[in-house]
């Protein structure tokens, strides 16, 4: 359950050519995918999201050039991690209110989530609501093409991890050990 504040802050997300794993860290008045991504219209062609509540068919897809029947992703919001394939570089303008609290249902196994926090936070702090209920986190930073994957393994020594904090612009893969609810406070 989200309780958006009246504060509206526009965020600019630079996106690279190729795949970008992002979050939409604002509460959108209109969550239609074409509306949310309207600022990069013509610069992207394919979008994927992952619905962990549907383990037999978790992937959701929106192909700009495909007929409507073939797309099963029509809405995106601040709880979701979203893969966006850019055909050219672009900047996504994310307008909307800052959600004071966001609750995201996680399911045992892999979950692809957004992070609608205003400030970057250490992983242990940002994910304190699911402490001991996750073992692994991945992020994909397309702005660093030489080493885009960032990993935080709870059981690994610090030197083996290259992800230490979560930021609002990125989407995150979280490996949950049980069903739980991730709560993010601003």
């Amino acid at each position: 359950m989200n309780n958006p504040q009246t504060i509206n802050v526009t965020l600019l997300l630079p996106l690279q050519t190729g795949w970008n794993l992002i979050s939409i860290p604002r509460d959108q008045a209109d969550t239609a995918i074409t509306t949310v991504l309207s600022s990069i219209s013509g610069s992207y062609d394919l979008v994927y999201a992952y619905d962990a509540s549907d383990p037999t068919n978790p992937w959701r897809k929106y192909n700009v050039n495909a007929p409507p029947y073939s797309n099963n992703l029509s809405q995106i919001n601040e709880t979701m991690g979203v893969w966006v394939h850019m055909t050219t570089e672009g900047t996504l303008t994310v307008a909307g209110s800052i959600p004071p609290t966001t609750s995201i249902q996680l399911y045992q196994g892999w979950n692809l989530v957004g992070y609608p926090g205003i400030q970057a936070k250490a992983i242990s702090e940002a994910l304190s609501s699911i402490a001991d209920k996750y073992t692994l986190i991945y992020a994909y930073d397309a702005s660093n093409p030489a080493d885009p994957w960032k990993k935080y393994n709870v059981g690994a020594p610090a030197w083996a991890n290259n992800l230490s904090e979560v930021r609002s612009r990125l989407g995150y893969w979280i490996l949950a050990t049980e069903n739980c609810v991730l709560t993010i406070n601003n």
Binding site: W19, L46, Y48, Y50, N57, P58, W59, K61, N63, A66, P67, P68, Y69, S70, N71, N72, W83, H85, W110, L112, L136, Y138, K151, N153, G155, A156, P157, W159, A160, W173, L175
Partner: protein, 173 residues
């Protein structure tokens, strides 16, 4: 025995010190396909199961729907997590065989992560089985009559043969 224990403990120590852990990779982006699905050039029934197979294993299935007068499908074929022993889906270059119901359709697809390919599927005509024909009854004489007729014929023939033999023996004498 003692040396084995020492080697095992050394290996365990090295493993722990190196921080080695089994890390499961997140799911790769799927390989997606969509298009028309027909059987012998005609639409398939809405709700027909379309499935995707790699090396004889089914990894995804969906149901056909109707769109602008055509039966169509859309499917996401998952990828494999190379860090696990089990195979969860495809890897780059795998051939994907599509089935419409139980029939193998053509053409095949190729697994590529993060792509959505327009691929029209055609299934062969449904095989016609002999059981689909209705057998027509044929008029035949009753079995009892035939048996009696044949028996009478055989007995008559035997008697005639014996009589002929007797005549031949008598003439020879």
């Amino acid at each position: 025995m003692r040396s084995r224990a020492i080697v095992a403990s050394m290996a365990l120590t090295i493993l722990l010190l190196s921080g080695t852990t089994v890390v499961e990779a997140m799911p790769p982006l799927p390989s997606s396909f969509h298009g028309t699905v027909k059987r012998d050039g005609t639409n398939v029934a809405e709700g027909t199961v379309v499935s995707a197979w790699i090396n004889g294993v089914k990894y995804a299935e969906t149901q056909s729907q109707m769109y602008q007068g055509n039966s169509v499908y859309a499917i996401n074929v998952p990828g494999d997590d190379p860090d696990t022993t089990q195979v969860e889906g495809g890897v780059e270059g795998n051939t994907i065989v599509f089935k419409v119901g139980d029939s193998t359709a053509s053409p095949t697809g190729t697994w590529h992560t993060g792509t959505d390919v327009d691929l029209n599927l055609t299934a062969p005509p449904t095989a016609v089985t002999l059981s689909s024909f209705t057998a027509k009854p044929v008029a035949v004489p009753p079995v009892g009559f035939t048996s009696r007729f044949l028996l009478a014929l055989a007995v008559t023939g035997l008697i005639a043969l014996l009589a002929a033999s007797a005549i031949l023996v008598k003439d020879a004498k």
